[in-house]
Symmetry: C2
Subunit: 117 residues, 2 copies
Amino acid sequence: MTHFGSTIREIRERLRRDDRRYSVRQVAGRVGIEPAYLSKIERGEVAPPSEATTVRLAQDLGEDPDVMLALAGKVSTDLQAIIRKRPRLFADLIRQLKEAPDKAVLRVVREVRDGNW
Amino acid sequence: MTHFGSTIREIRERLRRDDRRYSVRQVAGRVGIEPAYLSKIERGEVAPPSEATTVRLAQDLGEDPDVMLALAGKVSTDLQAIIRKRPRLFADLIRQLKEAPDKAVLRVVREVRDGNW
DNA sequence: AAAATTGTGTAGTATATACGACACATGACA
DNA sequence: TGTCATGTGTCGTATATACTACACAATTTT
């Protein structure tokens, strides 16, 4: 569950192998947090950071914010806002898709993107 | 935004007109919170309660938990868990459906329910 | 008229969230 | 060999979350 920290650490260390700008200190500096805090996050000594910090961290490491938020046990507030506007509709849809294979979900995504409405 | 409290109050008072069991005290009793707390919630003096309490409250008042959670500014954790398992997929889908009319979303729900996969 | 029920004001609490500041030993490097 | 950067340990804090406990005046019920 505290998969978040170790994942961040792996990604950062991989990037660091050929770019010195990915030390704990430098990443923390760019992301706007204390190095000691990032260190603790990576070792799972503290809970994953806030949504905003997680997103900035994901961006700095070139990762997908939604994926990183998921690892942090969160769902981005903009997605939540969309759901909250039509709760019944989206609740049904999401529960419906719970067991559906990726393929089926992807097909739905494409269908909607191609605007069949 | 603190639409939540007034909505609860209206629903409860409506039910109360022909059922004495829907006083602040009795509802609070069944839901498992202090009457004073429910009173404050209804008047928007405090923030909406936790997810668990909101759901019990919705059930007691015969309302849809997802809708009540939405009014409380929340999205139920079980929906979030589904999203977090496949963040990219669901993030795409939901953002895709943001502007889609209810009709289109409903069609998708039915399509999936009828198991075209 | 007594008893019970109503809603609400006041005050306080326990736990979680989300960090910052500083110091320090170790290792790299020039 | 001195300087600089590295990661991390310790301690503290501000704010939010989610309530409880008690009391009390007003109304309702019996």
